[in-house]
Symmetry: C2
Subunit: 218 residues, 2 copies
């Protein structure tokens, strides 16, 4: 897409992900326009995209706010993600090519490298992890599914989960990916489905445990 609109999208998204614009805080078009150095038109465009991707919500009076996810929302999001990604994993296993398998293996090696460092490289983990899951969805060869998933997988919550991962959880994640690769190598759809379900469910509980811990700290 065009420059100004893309720039506004990236800028606002990063505001949200960094926490500079915390959940529930209002987003005024003119303020964002000034911040990005563009006019309101591309900002409105960016906000629409962010709304479709559930980063922001609009009140009935059309004011925009950073999305605030309740515990139930998060639970439901993980449940949906588990269903959808497990479905994608099954389809991907049934359609697995040698090329894609090699790509996935190489991707997970990069994840393991990022994790095994003295100070785990969480940003690299996140990027490679997204690449890994994205490649599986691609391998399911259903573009509509892909579009639907992309809006769920790329949620702030997911990123925050991993941002707070400890080494143990990061290694667990990479190990689950290895299991998934075995299922793919065997072209076993049911196996891949089951492993992916477990992978997402574990991530859910890691998130819940972490946020309970944070609540206590307060």
């Amino acid at each position: 897409m065009s420059r100004a609109s893309d720039h506004a999208y990236a800028e606002i998204r990063s505001l949200i992900l960094s926490g500079d614009a915390p959940p529930g805080s209002p987003l005024r078009e003119e303020q964002l326009a000034d911040l990005c150095g563009v006019s309101r038109t591309p900002v409105r465009d960016a906000l629409r995209r962010l709304e479709a991707e559930l980063y922001v919500v609009r009140s009935e009076s059309q004011r925009t706010f950073v999305a605030d996810w309740s515990r139930e929302d998060v639970e439901e999001m993980f449940a949906l993600r588990a269903m959808l990604e497990a479905h994608a994993a099954r389809r991907a296993a049934e359609r697995m090519t040698d090329d894609r398998l090699a790509e996935l293996q190489s991707c997970n090696r990069a994840i393991e490298t990022a994790v095994s460092k003295a100070k785990p490289d969480v940003v690299a983990f996140l990027n490679r992890n997204r690449e890994f899951h994205g490649s599986i969805i691609e391998g399911a060869s259903s573009p509509r599914l892909l579009a639907t998933l992309a809006t769920l997988v790329e949620q702030p919550i997911v990123r925050r989960t991993a941002m707070h991962y400890g080494r143990e959880e990061l290694e667990q994640s990479a190990s689950e990916h290895r299991e998934l690769l075995k299922a793919f190598a065997a072209r076993d759809g049911e196996w891949a489905h089951a492993v992916m379900t477990g992978h997402i469910r574990r991530a859910f509980h890691a998130f819940t445990a972490r946020s309970d811990q944070e609540s206590e700290a307060r």
Copy 2:
């Protein structure tokens, strides 16, 4: 939402659903603006919404076209819908209130009335059917799920499926709804899940059979 933007949305959507703008045909902003009697700004807004709801697609050069669903796309859409609505049905059954149950029963009575007429009232069927499914999704009490589903359920394909239903298929659909109501009355999540899965799968096969038939006719 505001008047002009809403109007443009409704107008363009109806262009697509009616078939006046067939799949693959280009949608030019200025032309649509003239048609709706508004400026390009609200038209752009409407197109963005329609894009998020998969009614239209944008080429890499940002031109907009009416979405063209391949057979695989349709198959995948139904598979996702089955998963998601069955999930919603399970949750709804587990949370079913007497009020909602009564509402659903009344809704399905309206469907049966529409179906049993000498000349089945397909438009009424469609509206009530959407109400029925919408109420179930609401009863699942997970707003994010609802938003995701709405984009899938309201697809042109779904509408066209029913538009081509014969009396037998319409009655079958109403009868499946009755079965679903029994599962809800029993607050049996698993039962509701199973019935809903069958309901959507049958709709899928009704659609495939119908479109195969149309292909032959050509």
